[in-house]
């Protein structure tokens, strides 16, 4: 399948004429053909009007048909074969193995939501039988089901060009819920987006759903994105990206005449707490696993371990010594985009130059478009005093906070913002100390791990990929796992309805 650089609207492709941009090869900055045209206001109006028209039909679609549609998308993605793999590799700089794995994850995720749709559990059907004889008032017949919110705007993530992009977790869960989806493609992988978008569009046609069920827009700037979030026909937003962009979307959504939910997954430094006995007995082993997690995929994961918290002592020294040794051997890796690479270099340079921060180690020297891993250290006292040290540096950089005692560590914890994950490294003897911290940690993060690292997010029913702001905009939700479908649903109660007016599932 060829990439045309066109928008996908209403079952067709059309050239966007509001600006033009190119994908770039991640490892060289070289322009990749063809040019992509940005959506105009007319394109946006067309896409949203079609989505709005598709909504009442698509949301009432038979569950089996909807599940088959999700699977069809997966099949179509696989059929793109190496055309997709090679384009994604070029646009993101990620290696073949990673892209193939992510493709499998994307397809599996679609199948998981298909199974969730078939189960019907997400409808939360409830029936309260009537009791006409009840005194003082007769009891009505009440039936409840969840219905889809409406068309959803999805903003793909740069760091998951398949699993959190055009047919990724947000789109899959919204489509599963019965919501038409309009994706604004990430400008870092527009060719990948178009290929996958065509796979979705083809599935819409094959399954006979209204053409407005899916659209793909490109944006040469930011106008399309903001207009999408503000558009009255858009009823929810799924986003993975920066804190600034996510927070801007939250404000746009809250200021609409009719506010809508924004599910933004934004910013997390994923603290790792190393407890004394774990450090004393397994410091080196933990350090090796830590460096492996930190440097996986050039550190470009939302769950990357960006903060190490421990109390001063020989165990921490051992941990650092091993981590430094291992990290120095890590080869630099191509980053997703020149902008991400530049932000990473600025972030690490800022840490290196900070008067209260020591650079412990860096990986071997990075070439253009590459990021080199980096490990820094500061004291508990300085971390507490300098909130700029709490900010995420997206990439393979981490900061060790050496606390003078457990009390100082507690204060450090009290200063943390919301997180996607918090990891505890413990042995039996640390359990009591860990248990005492859990209530606070549970308030901050959606997932707590013992003796592991947050990278490698399982796609399954018990997963939570969420957490208090700013890790996400809404800590009541998850963007990974089956629970993600509930973000796009709301309950409706039907009182004393004749059977013929009820949806099939409520009869």
């Amino acid at each position: 399948m060829d990439i045309s650089g066109e928008l996908l609207i209403g079952g067709k492709a059309r050239r966007g004429t509001s600006g033009e941009f190119y994908a770039k090869k991640a490892d060289s900055g070289e322009k990749l053909l063809p040019p992509f045209g940005g959506a105009t206001k007319v394109d946006l109006e067309d896409a949203t009007a079609l989505a709005w028209a598709a909504f009442p039909i698509y949301r009432e679609s038979n569950l089996e048909a909807r599940a088959a549609f999700l699977e069809e998308i997966g099949k179509n993605i696989l059929e793109l074969g190496d055309t997709l793999i090679l384009r994604t590799m070029a646009e993101t700089g990620l290696p073949r193995g990673r892209i193939e794995g992510e493709r499998m994850r994307t397809v599996t995720q679609l199948s998981m939501f298909a199974a969730e749709v078939r189960s019907g559990k997400f409808l939360d059907l409830r029936f309260d039988a009537a009791d006409p004889q009840r005194k003082p008032m007769p009891k009505p017949d009440l039936r409840l089901r969840n219905v889809a919110l409406g068309p959803v705007a999805v903003f793909g993530a740069s760091n998951f060009p398949l699993a959190f992009s055009v047919a990724g977790g947000d789109a899959a869960s919204a489509l599963a819920a019965g919501c038409p989806v309009i994706v604004k493609a990430h400008s870092a992988h527009p060719g990948t987006s178009e290929l996958v978008g065509r796979a979705v569009q083809k599935a819409v046609a094959t399954c006979g759903f209204p053409t407005g069920t899916f659209a793909l827009l490109f944006d040469a700037g930011r106008d399309v994105s903001q207009a999408l979030v503000a558009h009255p026909h858009i009823r929810a937003v799924g986003f993975t990206g920066s804190r600034s962009a996510g927070t801007a979307f939250m404000h746009i959504a809250a200021s609409r005449p009719q506010p809508i939910p924004v599910y933004a997954e934004m910013s997390s430094i994923n603290p790792v707490l190393l407890f004394p006995q774990a450090l004393a007995t397994q410091g080196s082993e933990i350090a090796r696993k830590f460096v492996d997690s930190l440097t996986l995929g050039a550190g470009q994961f939302c769950t990357n371990p960006g903060l190490i918290l421990a109390v001063d002592g020989a165990g921490l020294d051992d941990f650092i010594a091993t981590a430094v040794e291992r990290l120095r051997q890590v080869a630099p890796q191509t980053m997703l985009t020149a902008a991400i690479c530049s932000a990473y270099q600025q972030g690490t340079a800022k840490l290196a130059a900070h008067p209260k921060v020591t650079t412990l180690a860096t990986g071997s020297e990075a070439g253009d478009f590459q990021g080199s891993a980096a490990l820094f250290e500061t004291s508990g006292q300085d971390f507490i005093a300098h909130s700029e040290l709490h900010e995420e540096v997206f990439g393979a950089a981490s900061l060790v906070v050496r606390c003078k005692d457990a009390t100082e560590l507690d204060i450090v914890l009290s200063k943390l913002e919301g997180q996607l994950t918090i990891a505890l490294h413990i042995t039996d003897e640390d359990y009591n100390a860990a248990a005492a911290l859990l209530p606070h940690l549970e308030n901050l993060a959606g997932r707590l791990l013992v003796n592991g690292f947050g990278t490698g997010v399982e796609v399954s029913p018990a997963m939570v990929h969420g957490g208090a702001y700013p890790s996400t905009s809404d800590g009541r939700s998850t963007s990974v796992g089956t629970l993600a479908i509930y973000r796009f649903l709301r309950p409706v109660c039907y009182q004393d309805f004749p059977h013929s007016l009820l949806a099939d599932v409520l009869r």
Copy 2:
């Protein structure tokens, strides 16, 4: 039990010293003793600090103990006997039968949440078994439960001094979820609030929960309310009241360093659609039931039928003739407060003076503190052109919109804002026309009724008391029924936890 006018904080009563106000007899404006003292900043800090300290203990409380606590509150409310009934009657002007019924509803609601707590269903426990042999990566052990959000600020409603106030639906569902509750008493029924507050406080003590599990604050102005919503220890808000106050809370909550959810139930005109065949065959009967619903409790219900939509014709004329006749016989009723009464009189006067509105009927003349029912008419065209006619007039006023044809009625429907309820009056022959409207109506309202009126909200598993903005701040939720508990929960995933660190329910 005597009413002291004191705040209830930390298991004790203390005098608020930030301003003073009195309850007033609803039917005379006469001051009722004692004076109530407004909470100071220190009182607010104490109450929130105690709630925050109580939170980790209360949220992990044994489910049976928590259920028993909710039942104990109900028992204590009943034990207040006529002291409560008489005070509530004086403060609200509502008759004994209504107050006794509402007390029963309040106690039943507490029992319903007790049963929900015992069932444990709200925890949404999920277990994904580990698979250490899985390739390429071992599968971790994942366990999920819902945890409580944190201390909740509850703002009681003026129109449900028991069922939606200190121990009403918001407080009961938040306590059921495991959240400490700080209630800001409604200034229209502070004595009622204190009595019920003492019943809750006594139950906290009896059940051995931390004293910070519950607090009751009075506010002589608005500062305490706004400071509560902005306070970092408050993690969610439950509110029933005006659109302006609810929207202000939404903005305060969204602008916090850490935004929190606001569940505000605000404003709804609850459209009633009269279909042609129903009008032709049952117009008079529907009119009688309509007037009964409209004038119940002086029309002071969130689900009061404030808008009648129908196509012009003889059936509509019959409906109006019967409604006019019946409404003229309705005696004026004491309203909840002088401010509500004044707003009602201004609202009806504005409608009566509107150049595009005809006054069809009013009830017999109202005395001071009373509201007299009122029925108005306008055309579909004028309703479409005048958005001020879409605003809620809280009380027993309703507006008939006479549409020239079904097409104009569709346009009227397209202009409506979000609603708590929409009622359809239909016979078999209207089913096709009704079915065509359902997708749009479902987007607007949380509850759709056939051949009934929205007043009389059942407290049960399938109830939805919610709807699109501005009927509520969050159309994904309900403030009545068992589903209300989910507003105060969020999921947390535990990965590879040793059993001894897991909560009992997850082992």
